[in-house]
């Protein structure tokens, strides 16, 4: 028996000639983030990317939780669901299982994903549901006006930590790797080109793609990431990894990373090292990804950006559908009357 969704899929599958421009993805809602907020840049990159993906916009859904970043769906002219605090991964999971053909994006923040929604976040990653997760990390609670978040630095002075935060922070990429994510990346709101490339890779990945985006909160944590975004410090502080390429950074790429046992160390190419001796990044190597991700919190090491890890693993929702298909293969399409008639029955005449 055909269901209403089967009927809808017939319409969905009709070929359409899509010629979208950026404008097609702008909703009629006025954007209400603070002037200068990093979210604007991310929104613009996303609206720029969407026409290039060739997905009909009625098949795209943005799901979010609560927080500044979670306003995102209102500004995309696609389907959208602004849900409740921390639960976006579970809502997106239910949607994707029910509708595997949809392109589902999830927008979240450091508080939404890592504090109140930490549980759903790790379970989404281990299940590998084909959802693109964008975590806007500003290391602060913005919407509630400036309390520390689970990614805030120790000692951070905020409204709720007048003597400094005592919490040890999460490193989101290491947390994601620990939760067996199949795609882990990091980018910056102020590096549009890199962010565009990272968003595209996220969209292309089959399975849960986790992209952490350093996002400047201009009001409550201004400049938190400036050392990685501003040209004075960026070359020395940020390392952009690329699959198959040696790990170099610094002004004029004068430095690189070498492995000393399992410990990454910084070497200067002017000290007699050649590029051939440097670590060549391999985004499919989980051990390497773990080591490099941990550089995030290692003093003296540059902070890694780029695709840290990308692997293939079956997607949860496809496996769910496969089990249903197998059940039909084995037992045929279920007949409700025979289901009700099953078991130990008797007839009274």
């Amino acid at each position: 028996m055909n269901t209403l969704l089967d009927d809808l899929r017939v319409i969905q599958n009709e070929p359409v000639d899509i010629q979208y421009t950026l404008k097609d993805f702008k909703s009629d809602q006025e954007v209400r983030w603070c002037p200068g907020c990093g979210d604007y840049a991310i929104l613009a990159q996303m609206q720029k990317l969407m026409p290039e993906l060739g997905v009909p916009k009625e098949q795209i859904v943005f799901v979010s939780g609560i927080g500044c970043s979670s306003r995102f769906p209102y500004y995309m002219n696609t389907y959208g669901f602004h849900t409740i605090h921390g639960r976006a991964p579970a809502i997106a999971t239910g949607l994707k299982i029910a509708r595997p053909e949809l392109s589902v994006w999830m927008v979240t923040g450091d508080g939404d994903a890592l504090s109140i929604g930490g549980n759903h976040f790790i379970h989404l990653l281990r299940r590998n549901v084909d959802i693109n997760v964008l975590l806007f990390n500003n290391e602060i609670y913005g919407l509630t006006k400036g309390q520390y978040s689970p990614t805030s630095s120790p000692g951070h002075i905020t409204k709720s930590t007048p003597m400094g935060s005592l919490d040890h922070p999460f490193n989101p990429t290491s947390l994601a790797l620990g939760a067996n994510a199949t795609f882990v990346g990091r980018t910056l709101d102020r590096d549009l080109k890199h962010m565009g490339a990272m968003l595209r890779r996220s969209a292309e990945h089959k399975g849960t793609s986790f992209l952490e985006i350093y996002q400047n909160c201009v009001v409550f944590n201004d400049g938190a990431f400036f050392s990685y975004t501003e040209k004075e410090t960026k070359p020395e502080q940020a390392l952009f990894v690329e699959h198959g390429k040696p790990m170099v950074f610094g002004v004029g790429n004068d430095k690189g990373i070498k492995l000393d046992g399992f410990t990454p160390t910084v070497v200067k190419l002017s000290d007699g090292y050649s590029v051939d001796e440097l670590l060549v990044y391999n985004e499919r190597d989980l051990t390497l990804a773990t080591i490099v991700s941990n550089m995030t919190t290692t003093p003296g090491m540059p902070r890694p950006f780029g695709i840290l890890y990308a692997a293939d693993r079956p997607c949860y929702e496809e496996e769910v559908s496969r089990q249903l298909a197998t059940a039909v293969e084995r037992r045929g399409n279920g007949n409700i009357q025979s289901l009700l008639n099953a078991g130990d029955t008797w007839t009274i005449s």
Binding site: F81, A90, Q337, G343
Partner: protein
């Protein structure tokens, strides 16, 4: 043929009791199925501990299964049992209070050894000290007799001991003149891969039967004739199974795919188990990481156009609260099953209670009305689930289904419905792009359109922030908020237009009306029938719909001098009825983790009439 006297009885209540590892639930359900097949009406009450395998011989490890079968209508498992099968001393101690005066005790003597007596706190063996003289005591060495029947099977003594419940079952089959074939067939199927176990159980059961036939201790056996029941195909069904079947049937009648998000919790988990085996019916089940993910995944699926369902019990419902508010706000269809258990907090997971009514009605922030339906019997769970789905999709609202541990695990014969005679559930996805508004209203139901992702031209955003009526845009307008709060309330109120009027069993007016809801129906009905047979005029109003209440409920209440609201809580429906209709109703309340006894209900009414 036996030459022993065969006495005919109208109805019998048997309670099988033993260690939680003794297979008492299995024994009870086999006796139930066989009795159903011979045409008796039946009601059962499994009463098991939370421990999976509690230490052997202890009082807290006792598992019981009570069944009531008869040749007339049976509505409850019975206040007291006529026969207590006690596999050990602890089982006797825990259950003796539920045996009627001069009732039959069948005791497994091996279960009364020194260790068992000590564990159950008996200083002397009650089988020998005359303390059971007011009962008909049959002490049978079930363990030894079973071992003797199996001695050439080369099984360990532990394995042999595990079959002693089949000996007891065989003996009870003999005593109540039941056929062995249904259980024989069950054994054959169940243990087809372990023929030795099948053989052992088969032999133990026959040995039990033969023991009854040959022993001198039983002089009488009993017969309970078939009950006059509506013609048709029957099966024995418990509430959790009926719920699962009702959901799948309703989904098909609505042409929807079921998405079932759940987190395991006693006593609701069996719904998840049943549905997870129905994949070829297009049912997608999702065992979520927690209760919140269970409900929110169902909300996500509902946004996507599936029939979103979640199931839980009290503590889990507490966790789902915020998400249910989201479903109210986004006006998405959702069925929330709460198989109530004794609370608060973890409470008594395997024991029944009806104390989550107010939680279902009011347990959310803000003005967040949700319809509430409560099935009356195990079989009614099917129809209640069907009704919940209908209301959810036609009014675009979350709906509560309040079952309880008693009907979830209890069972009764169920007349299997003809699917083609069940009504279709009319639901359509919105596809018209002309002047589409996500919060436009159906004039009759006030429901908003169900516009699902994938539909070209209907791209829109929803969420938990207050919405402007019509456009669905975020709105902080005071007038709009008032309007939306009123609309959401009226939408639920209007569901009453689609409900049949409530019906009183007994006189339409008089001195006393007993009002009940949910799983207490059978016991209250039994009590009312008992009173009728003694010439006491009492009427009964049973409510399946708790929100909205049916339109004539107030009118009915006003037709009686006394209104007694019977419920397994401290008076939750009572509060609702008193505040809604300003009637001086009084409560009949019990919170012991156990169902009412009919005699408790009768005593209350008698006191009321004599006061």
């Amino acid at each position: 043929m036996s030459n022993k006297e065969l006495r005919s009885l109208d109805d019998v209540v048997i309670r099988f009791a033993g260690d939680s590892g003794d297979g008492m639930q299995l024994t009870g359900s086999q006796f139930t199925n066989t009795s159903a097949i011979v045409g008796n009406d039946i009601s059962t009450f499994p009463d098991f501990p939370a421990e999976i395998r509690a230490p052997q011989g202890t009082l807290f490890g006792v598992s019981g299964f009570q069944l009531h079968f008869g040749s007339g209508e049976i509505h409850s498992p019975g206040d007291y049992c006529d026969v207590l099968v006690a596999m050990n001393a602890a089982a006797l101690k825990v259950n003796l209070g539920s045996l009627r005066a001069n009732g039959i005790i069948i005791a497994n003597t091996e279960g009364f050894n020194d260790k068992n007596l000590r564990l159950s706190g008996y200083a002397v063996n009650p089988l020998e000290d005359g303390s059971l003289d007011s009962y008909q005591l049959f002490a049978v060495d079930i363990s030894r007799l079973t071992a003797a029947a199996l001695k050439d099977l080369q099984m360990s003594s532990k394995e042999v001991d595990r079959t002693k419940n089949f000996f007891a079952l065989g003996m009870m089959y003999w005593l109540y003149n039941r056929p062995l074939e249904p259980t024989e067939q069950w054994i054959k199927q169940k243990f087809s891969k372990v023929p030795q176990i099948a053989e052992a159980n088969y032999r133990a059961m026959h040995a039990g039967w033969n023991f009854g036939e040959t022993t001198e201790i039983f002089v009488t056996r009993f017969d309970v004739k078939p009950a006059p029941m509506q013609p048709g195909l029957y099966r024995n069904i418990n509430g959790n199974t009926a719920l699962a079947l009702g959901l799948v049937t309703a989904a098909q009648k609505a042409r929807l795919d079921v998405f079932f998000g759940s987190y395991p919790i006693t006593p609701a988990s069996d719904i998840l188990h049943t549905l997870s085996s129905l994949k070829n019916y297009g049912v997608k089940t999702f065992q979520a990481e927690d209760e919140i993910a269970a409900v929110t995944s169902a909300i996500g699926a509902a946004f996507g156009g599936a029939l979103g369902v979640t199931s839980t019990s009290g503590p889990g419902l507490a966790l789902k609260t915020e998400a249910i508010g989201l479903a109210v706000m986004t006006e998405l269809p959702l069925v929330i099953i709460n198989v109530q258990r004794a609370g608060p907090s973890t409470g008594m997971p395997t024991k029944t209670e009806q104390a989550d009514l107010l939680q279902a009605l009011y347990g959310r922030n803000g003005e967040a009305p949700v319809p509430v339906i409560a099935p009356a019997t195990p079989g009614d769970c099917f129809y209640a689930a069907f009704e919940a789905v209908r209301i959810a999709v036609t009014s675009m609202t979350p709906v509560f289904l309040l079952s309880d541990g008693y009907i979830a695990n209890g069972s009764e014969p169920w007349l299997v419905p003809d699917v083609s005679e069940l009504p279709d559930i009319a639901v359509q996805f919105h596809t018209d792009t002309e002047a589409f508004q996500p919060y436009a209203r159906n004039e009759e139901t006030l429901a908003r359109p169900w516009a699902v992702p994938g539909t070209p031209g209907l791209e829109h955003r929803i969420g938990g922030l207050e919405k402007e009526n019509g456009s669905g845009n975020i709105s902080y307008s005071p007038q709009n908020h008032q309007l939306m709060v009123d609309l959401r309330a009226e939408k639920v109120e209007r569901i009453a237009n689609t409900l049949p009027l409530a019906e009183v069993e007994g006189d339409e007016q008089g001195d006393v009306l007993i009002v009940s809801w949910g799983g207490t129906y059978g016991v209250i009905k039994t009590a009312v029938q008992n009173m009728h047979s003694r010439g006491v005029a009492v009427s009964h109003l049973h409510l399946r719909f708790l929100n909205p209440l049916q339109k004539n409920v107030g009118e009915i209440l006003c037709n009686f001098k006394h209104v007694v609201v019977a419920e397994l809580n401290k008076g939750q429906l009572l509060k609702v009825l008193r505040s809604t209709y300003l009637v001086p109703a009084v409560g009949l309340n019990k919170v012991q983790g156990l169902p009412f006894k009919a005699e408790e209900v009768e005593a209350t009414i008698n006191d009321l009439l004599n006061s």
